[in-house]
Symmetry: C2
Subunit: 325 residues, 2 copies
């Protein structure tokens, strides 16, 4: 249901609309990691995260009449903004269901991108039920954040770019670390690498206490998180891996990596000082694993996908203060 051909087709639809992000590096990061570190800064993507790719892929795959009725999405913030901008640029209405405790900036930005925002209580309400009801009432098409083939295909274009950029950099074997929530980005990248760079292997990275994917990869079956809120890494906290994404990750990914929130903050500070990019905590966990878990990684080079940069100034500056350069 998700495959390389869908990713390649999504890449064609995204051409000229999504940004091709570069690969960044710093000798200072190489010294810390003990190997060459290449960083794919998807924080520089439109709306500040890779999610624009999946949003654009899904919107552009709809037929005109369906798209004109509009789309609906639920998201803690990054998927919201990605779908909102993709819908705006397609001239389609968008309704976004967001948790009331999402970062204020993400809620504000989603509204400013032209979407109608519906807030819900993460602890007491079922976002799926709300989404289903609104979709039925208004004839909207639901764009799920990860367990949706066209979204996976869009995120997989990151993997196509990494395959080409790694080859250009002379890298034919490496672990590719991906900040992982529901697994849409990781599974898309894994499929793209399988087809275009078989020496590169996708690996998930999650924050401690929200390591459902690492545990699922270990047990072989889908495991759940016991809680899904109060993480500094809010962008990548989901209840469990997806029904579509997990089998792909199980087949293609190495063991999952887990980092502490403190390590994510340290990676944010180093990305500020050494790469001059802004990462949110959830967008920094892959870089944290690359820097601080060298023994869990194979090869002379590691590639870390820095997935997003939508962070409030206070949280960002707390990380810089905690880990001075």
């Amino acid at each position: 249901m998700s495959n390389l051909q869908m990713i390649e087709a999504a890449a064609t639809r995204l051409d000229g609309h999504a940004r091709r992000t570069p690969l960044l590096a710093s000798p200072f990061l190489d010294d810390i990691a003990g190997r060459r570190v290449l960083v794919k800064p998807e924080c520089l993507q439109h709306t500040g995260s890779f999610k624009f790719r999946g949003g654009w892929s899904a919107l552009s795959a709809l037929d005109d009449a369906t798209r004109a009725r509009g789309v609906i999405a639920f998201s803690s913030g990054n998927h919201a903004q990605g779908v909102a901008l993709a819908a705006k640029r397609h001239g389609a209405p968008a309704v976004i269901i967001m948790p009331a405790d999402a970062p204020r900036m993400k809620i504000d930005n989603t509204r400013a991108l032209g979407a109608e925002v519906v807030l819900y209580d993460r602890a007491r309400e079922d976002r799926d039920a709300i989404g289903d009801r609104l979709a039925a009432e208004r004839g909207l098409t639901l764009i799920k954040p990860f367990d949706e083939p066209q979204v996976i295909a869009g995120q997989g274009t990151v993997g196509l770019e990494i395959a080409r950029q790694a080859a250009d950099a002379g890298v034919d074997a490496a672990d590719v670390l991906v900040c992982c929530g529901g697994g849409g980005l990781t599974s898309g990248i894994a499929l793209a690498l399988e087809g275009h760079a078989p020496g590169l292997r996708a690996r998930t990275v999650e924050p401690q206490e929200f390591d459902d994917v690492a545990r699922s990869l270990r047990s072989g079956g889908i495991e759940r998180n016991t809680r899904t809120s109060d993480s500094l890494c809010d962008a990548i906290v989901t209840p469990q891996p997806g029904q579509i994404t997990f089998p792909i990750m199980k087949r293609l990914c190495g063991p999952g990596l887990v980092v502490s929130e403190e390590q994510a903050q340290h990676a944010m500070a180093l990305a500020f000082a050494r790469l001059k990019i802004v990462l949110e905590p959830g967008g920094a966990v892959a870089l944290a694993a690359a820097l601080f878990h060298p023994d869990a990684i194979e090869g002379d080079t590691v590639i870390a996908v820095a997935t997003g940069g939508n962070v409030d100034a206070q949280i960002f500056c707390d990380a810089l203060a905690r880990f001075p350069a």
Copy 2:
């Protein structure tokens, strides 16, 4: 003495060594400016500023025997790091003369990049005299920060990239705003645009009270700053435009723009929130002019070169606190 052919030759020598930075944009910035804003983030260049280009260009233009004896440079920080890394990658020794009051991070980084750092007192000592003496004693080649043809040629490769990227974005007429110290980057870009994108016009941007280039462009002769320290925009404060760079700027650039330090800080905060990049105050003045001086700019699109991101966390977070998103 500086011309398009030298810039094109420098581009060939830089290929595969300098990073081709993308063009970034955000609908939120367009709304503020009242026109389309494209940002060239040279903060993402190796060592965090465009200066690596000039350093690499100069080092790679030396004959092997001269290069092996080593190079010397004086700099408030960004040129220092650019030359240090370029020298290290060429296997050549580098001596860098830096003001004792330069940001600590820049001094530390220059040393960490393998250079020997010599500190001097900006108010009481003559850096040129120190440089001449050390160069003579050790047979080092002096690489001036801006008034040096091969350095101008290296910086001019930014202009070649802008010409190509603007064409790809459908832009054939625009002001290209450049954070300007001695004019090496601006004059290089101006020459590149003259040859490859004649509808694009380079314009200088400086901080208030350090507007020697704007005054020189107005009077037609080289004007000096009355002071050259205590600016938040330390990276782009020089006593006066160069003997080589000024005639080029006088021939090709529009009137110079001037922004307040407060506007530079505001641009830093907006680059954090909307582009997810880290800018130092001096690297943000061009974006500040694009956003806050709309009446001084012509055309539907403006291109701002964000020249560097080497900033201490405290100065960065002060700007974010002063201008919350």
